[in-house]
């Protein structure tokens, strides 16, 4: 009851302040509002057995520009820096969770899942889109060749996973064990696979659609983004490692500064901040001589505000009206995507003799969709002006369904696996 009353009070104050002026800006207002409403909404949905993550997203959806409009589109735009820093922190923490030595025993399963489940899902989604193309207006007037090309591009846009969702649920359930490690490794590698796929498919589609896209430039751009980001990330990892070894005190602040700088300049120099910080985290955990556990522990324990804002912001981008208009094809595609992840992963696990927990629930980690899909939604209209906007709307619809449904399923899987609650609580102030 108290969270509900507080939500009304916060929304009332927000409404009053917004009645004074409708001018853009008010970044810190939107930040504070989303942080508080996401937190208290999560407290409410927890009572009905839903993951807190669903509460964060619901808060964003309800407060966002498409429902109550307490947070406007300009406000969400102005929070881009916050979003970027949050992405970097999530990337660094996710990378540092990836211990390659512990993943090595399931490396064969991981490879098979990438080929059969992730690449397979792209093919299945493309086929499903092709089958639906007669009823989708965006394919009107296209011959079968270009239709296939467009289907392939949209299918890649629908395939990405979400390390952020998996990390948020691992943190929420405090899950630790082989399944948790596999899930995180799976989604991180799958995102990298999708980035490469997007470069190849976009280049191919550009040539099929004729002259809309500079294939060489795109290949160069994505190559730089991927290889450059990894290289830059390793350099950042070396630097943070050196800081931890030589200075130690203030390392969390230093790493936060690095995140701010990477978020601020990453997009300007066409590097992907998420990949940069993932690479830095992987370096720190696996190759650096520095013991960065204290630094990462500090980051982990303070990650709740990051999750709150990041997911609430993702929620503000979900247009329920648009989702409703596309509900039938989106639900078919969502079923095809999740269904193929299940089938593909089961086959991959059976071939490689994966442990039982991974064979049973490993596919669920592939289901959530967030960061990379949102990035693709942003670049599609500029890469493919003829269909990019309509494709982005469809991907956003699918993302909305997956964001709202998959956390519930993933949380259930983590609890059923028996790994939930095994990680010690990390509270920065307790130290």
């Amino acid at each position: 009851m108290i969270p509900l009353l507080l939500l009304f009070a916060i929304a009332g104050l927000m409404q009053a302040a917004r009645s004074f002026t409708t001018s853009a800006g008010a970044t810190e207002l939107a930040f504070g509002f989303l942080l508080l409403t996401a937190y208290f909404t999560a407290r409410l949905v927890q009572h009905i057995g839903l993951p807190r993550l669903t509460g964060y997203l619901l808060a964003g959806v309800l407060a966002g520009p498409f429902v109550l409009a307490l947070v406007t589109r300009e406000m969400t735009e102005s929070l881009r820096v916050v979003n970027g820093v949050a992405t970097c922190i999530l990337g660094l923490t996710a990378g540092a969770e990836l211990n390659l030595a512990r993943i090595r025993p399931v490396m064969a399963t991981l490879r098979a899942v990438m080929v059969l489940a992730v690449l397979g899902a792209i093919v299945v989604l493309a086929v499903a889109l092709y089958a639906l193309s007669p009823v989708l207006p965006l394919f009107d007037g296209l011959a079968s060749g270009p239709t296939l090309a467009v289907c392939a591009v949209i299918a890649v846009g629908m395939a990405p996973q979400s390390p952020s969702v998996v990390m948020a649920l691992l943190a929420e359930t405090r899950a630790q064990g082989p399944l948790s490690e596999f899930l995180l490794a799976e989604v991180v590698v799958a995102d990298l696979v999708v980035v490469v796929c997007y470069a190849l498919v976009a280049a191919l589609a550009g040539s099929v659609l004729g002259g809309e896209l500079d294939v060489g430039a795109l290949a160069l751009s994505v190559g730089w983004e991927l290889v450059g980001s990894i290289g830059f990330g390793i350099a950042i990892g070396v630097l943070i490692g050196a800081f931890v070894r030589s200075v130690a005190r203030g390392a969390a602040l230093f790493a936060l500064l690095v995140c701010v700088v990477v978020a601020e300049i990453g997009s300007r120099v066409h590097l992907d901040p998420l990949i940069v910080m993932l690479a830095a985290g992987i370096w720190l955990e696996n190759f650096s001589r520095a013991d960065a556990s204290a630094l990462l522990h500090g980051f982990e324990s303070a990650q709740l505000p990051v999750f709150l804002v990041w997911f609430a912001l993702s929620g503000t981008r979900l247009d329920l009206v648009q989702l409703w208009a596309l509900v039938v094809p989106v639900l078919i595609l969502a079923a095809a995507r999740a269904g193929w992840f299940f089938v593909g992963s089961r086959i991959a696990c059976a071939i490689t003799g994966a442990p039982r927990a991974i064979a049973r629930s490993g596919w669920i980690g592939l289901w959530p969709q967030a960061g990379l899909s949102l990035a693709l939604i942003t670049v599609l209209p500029s890469n493919f002006p003829s269909f990019g906007r309509a494709a982005a709307a469809m991907i956003l619809g699918l993302l909305g369904v997956n964001l709202l449904v998959s956390p519930v399923v993933l949380r259930g899987a983590l609890i059923r696996s028996g790994e939930a609650g095994k990680k010690p609580a990390a509270d920065f102030a307790a130290r």
Partner: protein, 459 residues
């Protein structure tokens, strides 16, 4: 994912930015390196600016056009962070104000406080303002008057705590009458801000047409409303991470509301802070723990931005530095003399006359200077920034010479004459409720003392 391919121009830009990034990180690395910290400690540098100078340098380097990381556009984008920092600072000052302390200070303290704040304000503002106008600024330009007022206000505020640098220990709190006065100085500054933002405002972009006095009440009402909301919110979290989220969100929300209504985030959050900690509240310790956790990062952001808007190559700003320092010392001396003559007899021995003439500049002064809007377009503001940064450095070095060198006695005023006091006693206000300790306001709480955990354990 970013679509456009790198062009020749963007490649050059990329190299510039990466070079700048490396420079920044090396500076941060050096700023926190053990040897640098040891060197800093050997020099006795503990003031906000001197100990945090690597961050000022960081901001300065990052703002060079050839690097362009902290250009005017980025500074503008960082303005919300600045607003949050100001709100946080106001909240901390408010939360540290234990109203019960005011019952224990002797009669006449308010007079002492006002005179000792007003004299440095007036003398510094008059001296520096005259030089600024002599250097070519238009006397009828309202921005110049605002800059003069800001500089005077910055001169009036002294620091209650010592700062220990980037990767070193956190703030170290002082004690005694000077520290009490420094805290109350800040409170007076905040109240001044409340009135300035209520009466000097541009209502063109707003829809509420209210007289200035009504805006004072809006500020107070908003602060109280947020305070009550905060008070209710901090009772919900069940872990420290949740507590951090609520405190961060609450202060950002309060600063944002103040900013949206064109009120001072410092003043509104100050009122909220007073309400939260002066109501009976079993979450006070947790609240202070979180506030302390954020204290250094916020201060470092202020220093970074101060460095970014600093133009040390403009010699005219440096001309103001000696005036600023001398104005503060002279103002303090005048204030001490006047208050000693008027209320000295009514105060306890040593309360009115054994005072430090050279006091470090408050972090709030730096925040005040860089919170002025249109940092890039105001001609006089770069001089003001130089005066405050240069003045802070000069003051902190003078204090180091006074306190840091072995055997160096403190410069004090006793009996109307300035002299050196080798005993350098620290005056303390005894708290009748807690034995011989200093004033029981939260600011005096010992950081190393164990604090209670959250009301309920984390799930």
């Amino acid at each position: 994912m970013s679509a456009p391919a790198p062009t020749a121009h963007s490649s050059v830009f990329a190299i510039q930015v990466i070079g700048g990034l490396v420079g920044l990180l090396v500076l941060a690395y050096l700023g926190g390196h053990r040897r640098v910290v040891r060197f800093q400690e050997r020099l006795g540098l503990g003031g906000v600016i001197t100990a945090g100078f690597p961050f000022v340098a960081l901001g300065l380097v990052a703002s060079w056009p050839s690097i362009g990381i902290l250009g005017p556009e980025v500074i503008d984008r960082l303005r919300p962070v600045l607003h949050f920092g100001l709100g946080w600072l106001g909240f901390v000052i408010g939360a540290q104000l234990d109203i019960r302390v005011l019952d224990r200070v002797p009669r006449g303290t308010a007079y002492l406080l006002v005179v000792e704040a007003l004299a440095p304000f007036a003398i510094t503002a008059a001296a520096v303002g005259a030089v600024m106008i002599a250097l070519g600024l238009a006397w009828d330009d309202p921005a110049v008057w605002r800059d003069i007022v800001v500089l005077g206000a910055a001169a009036a505020m002294t620091a209650p705590r010592k700062f220990r640098g980037f990767a070193n220990h956190s703030w170290r709190e002082g004690r005694g009458v000077d520290v009490l006065f420094a805290q109350l100085d800040e409170v007076v500054g905040v109240i001044g801000l409340l009135f300035i933002t209520a009466y000097v405002r541009d209502d063109a972009s707003g829809t509420w047409n209210l007289p200035g006095t009504a805006w004072v009440f809006v500020s107070l009402g908003l602060g109280v409303a947020i305070g009550v909301l905060f008070f209710a919110m901090v009772r919900v979290p069940v872990s420290n991470a949740e507590f951090l989220a609520v405190v961060l969100g609450g202060i950002a929300f309060a600063s944002g509301l103040a900013g949206q209504l064109q009120l001072s985030p410092i003043a509104v959050c100050f009122v909220a802070g007073v309400v939260v900690t002066n109501f009976p509240n079993d979450q006070r310790d947790n609240l202070f723990r979180i506030l302390r956790h954020l204290e250094r990062p916020v201060q470092l952001v202020f220093l970074l931005i101060a460095g970014a808007v600093w133009r040390p190559d403009d010699g005219r700003g440096w001309l103001l530095v000696p005036l600023f320092v001398a104005g503060r010392v002279a103002g303090k001396w005048v204030g001490v003399q006047v208050s000693r003559a008027v209320v000295g007899a009514r105060l306890p021995p040593g309360f009115a006359d054994r005072r430090q003439l050279i006091a470090p500049l408050s972090g709030l002064s730096i925040a005040l200077v860089i919170s002025v809007p249109s940092l890039s377009s105001d001609a006089g503001l770069p001089w003001v920034v130089t005066a405050v940064i240069g003045g802070a450095i000069a003051t902190e070095l003078l204090i180091r010479d006074r306190d840091g060198a072995p055997g160096a006695p403190a410069l004090r005023v006793t009996g109307g004459r300035v002299h050196q006091d080798s005993a350098a006693p620290i005056d303390e206000l005894d708290d009748p409720g807690s034995g011989s300790g200093p004033v029981a306001g939260p600011i005096y709480r010992d950081e190393s003392a164990p604090v209670a955990g959250p009301r309920r354990g984390p799930r």
